[in-house]
């Protein structure tokens, strides 16, 4: 139902790797690039991450910041053909399994864990348990806990371990000396990808949209890579922390400042394996919908044209075109 148009809307929510989106809008960099291509791009902040993806899925936005996992489950699982326009970073310690006191992953056996169920935290936990040969059913239970209340939850005596993401991780480890990180996303590099995904048809009909967004994004990436204080401070404050705090979070984030790195990640041969893992996890949790006959019910296409999952139902595409253009300086 997409056609050529000139006005586009992107949604984003607060997360260390997505703060540049807010800065793009505030600083006018997005506007500059949009003008260059004769279009208009509005970037809207939404508090509730899940709600922002839902909104995108329902068609209220042309693109949204999301992880590879949530993209697969919500828009792609919901039949909205979605393309990863930009791979911004992967979590490299930003997500962590935290235990109160000393211990190892094995100690989680028979324990209950607080996390945002069905989120990347849940996935991280599953991957962590894998490494020590445990399954989720070996736990006592997982308790769905709102990320907004995770810090308060950690402070209660009921809670023994949590899985969460930054800035909550640094908040917890920072103010609780006895907190032990059992497992974090640096152990599964490249599996939790933070993307900007857009509607495939919209992108196909409006290449200018892709170019403008990619151009603007990598201009800010360059500023960040150069350690531009003003830029970083603005992002830090917008995320409710200070420069030092934001830098600490960035340290646990593998930002692809250089578009070439992002292209490399997109073309990485590990990506299909990751996506298959993710799809299996989602299917196991029933997230792909009851109509999903198997874990590979949604097809995922990669830059080289290969497909994992159902080739007849490709709804998620990794496309390096625009990142490549940025890398080539062709924007």
């Amino acid at each position: 139902a997409a056609e050529e148009k000139t006005e586009f809307k992107l949604a984003w929510s607060i997360y260390v790797g997505w703060m540049p989106w807010g800065y793009l809008e505030d600083s006018g960099i997005m506007g500059k690039w949009a003008d260059k291509y004769g279009i208009d791009v509005e970037i809207v902040q939404i508090n509730d991450y899940v709600e922002s993806i839902n909104q995108y899925t329902a068609g209220a936005f042309d693109g949204v910041s999301a992880t590879n996992m949530d993209t697969l489950s919500i828009p792609s699982g919901g039949g909205v053909d979605t393309t990863a326009l930009i791979i911004g970073d992967y979590s490299n310690g930003n997500d962590a399994v935290i235990l109160k006191g000393e211990g190892t992953l094995e100690d989680l056996k028979g324990a209950s864990v607080n996390l945002v169920e069905l989120s990347v935290s849940h996935y991280l936990l599953a991957r962590g348990l894998d490494t020590v040969g445990l399954k989720e059913s070996d736990l006592d239970s997982v308790i769905n806990t709102s990320d907004a209340d995770m810090i308060a939850a950690y402070a209660t005596s009921d809670v023994k371990s949590v899985v969460t993401w930054n800035p909550l991780v640094s908040e917890i480890t920072g103010s609780n000396p006895d907190a032990t990180v059992l497992f974090d996303s640096s152990k599964i590099p490249g599996e939790i990808l933070d993307l900007m995904v857009v509607n495939t048809e919209t992108l196909a009909d409006n290449p200018a949209f892709g170019k403008a967004v990619a151009g603007a994004w990598y201009e800010v990436m360059a500023l960040m890579a150069a350690g531009d204080e003003a830029t970083l401070t603005a992002m830090a404050e917008a995320s409710g922390t200070d420069l030092a705090g934001y830098k600490a979070q960035l340290a646990a984030t593998e930002m692809f400042f250089d578009p070439a790195d992002a292209v490399a990640q997109t073309q990485s041969s590990a990506l299909p394996t990751t996506m298959t893992n993710v799809a299996e996890f989602l299917f196991d949790k029933g997230i792909l919908g009851e109509g999903a006959p198997s874990a590979d019910f949604v097809g995922v296409e990669y830059p080289d044209g290969s497909i994992s999952g159902d080739a007849g139902n490709v709804k998620f595409r990794f496309d390096a075109t625009y990142m490549q253009m940025a890398a080539d300086g062709a924007l």
């Binding site: 139902a1 899940v50 839902n54 899925t57 329902a58 949530d70 489950s73 919500i74 699982g77 919901g78 039949g79 909205v80 607080n114 169920e117 069905l118 989120s119 059913s137 239970s141 997982v142 308790i143 769905n144 806990t145 709102s146 907004a148 209340d149 308060a152 939850a153 402070a155 209660t156 005596s157 009921d158 809670v159 029933g286 997230i287 792909l288 919908g289 009851e290 709804k315």
Partner: protein, 270 residues
């Protein structure tokens, strides 16, 4: 004839009563159809048939992992919390309300405080609740209690003050102590008010329950709705919404019936 003097006949009245429900259903069906035509995998407005299938599945098929029917587990967990919270609130409101209504000292000391308390937004205090009451069942029940008790107390104390003073004087001339007045004059007359009060508060109680379950839980109707929101399973959400509506309706109806049966003296007037 004036519009106000036109009465629908018996079948007309029934048809009219159904009409808005039919309209809403039709509007939904059309909206759903439009979206599904555009994108057959659309999750936002599933077809009524899909919802029906989902509902059947939710009510009858056990979960793969736990071999239990989640909907029933959720229902029992939520109802237990709801009724527990409401019962505790009712008890507290009853006692404080009676104290405020009967004892001038309690009135001076508590009525202002309760009025202020009833203005505090309880949701904002959740973090403190967690720390004090933990993340378990207690904090959910406590959120309900904190959420509805001040309002109930205010209302019940007003109801006590509405009891004609003549009855208090009469009871005293019959030798009743303060305690006997509370037990034999105020309490029985307050019970029907308590029930209508509970009926009024149940809406808020559901709200607080859903809010509490959304924050930290692993079973419950509110928990499930917020969980499946993560993948926009609107068929599940709508089934749960309709189910909650039905439960709320039944609870309300039960309370109304109890009130009518238990307090014949209220209706004896006409």
């Amino acid at each position: 004839m004036r519009l106000m003097n036109h009465f629908p006949g018996r079948p007309g009245a029934v048809a009219l009563a159904m009409l808005p429900f039919v309209l809403v259903l039709a509007a939904y069906a059309i909206g759903s159809d439009i979206r599904l035509t555009a994108n057959p995998a659309d999750k936002l407005l599933p077809a009524p048939g899909t919802i029906w299938d989902t509902a059947i599945r939710l009510f009858t098929e056990p979960d793969r992992r736990s071999q239990e029917i989640l909907l029933w587990n959720d229902t029992f967990a939520s109802l237990a919390r709801l009724l527990g919270g409401v019962a505790i609130s009712a008890l507290i409101a009853m006692i404080i309300g009676m104290a405020i209504g009967i004892l001038p000292y309690a009135r001076s000391g508590l009525s202002g405080f309760v009025a202020v308390l009833s203005m505090v937004p309880p949701l904002a205090l959740l973090p403190i609740l967690f720390i004090v009451f933990g993340l378990g069942e207690v904090s959910k029940v406590v959120l309900i209690v904190i959420g509805i008790t001040p309002f109930m107390t205010r209302d019940l104390s007003q109801r006590v003050l509405d009891i004609p003073r003549e009855q208090f004087v009469k009871a005293q001339t019959l030798g009743a102590s303060t305690w006997v007045v509370a037990l034999n004059v105020v309490l029985p007359q307050l019970l029907p008010r308590l029930i209508s009060n509970v009926r009024l508060s149940l809406g808020s109680a559901w709200l607080f329950l859903i809010a509490a379950e959304a924050v930290a839980s692993n079973v419950g109707l509110g928990y499930r709705i917020f969980l499946v929101r993560r993948y926009l399973a609107m068929d599940v959400i709508l089934t749960y919404v309709i189910w909650i509506t039905l439960l709320a309706f039944v609870v309300d109806w039960l309370l109304k019936t109890i009130s009518r049966k238990a307090f014949p003296w209220l209706e004896a007037g006409l």
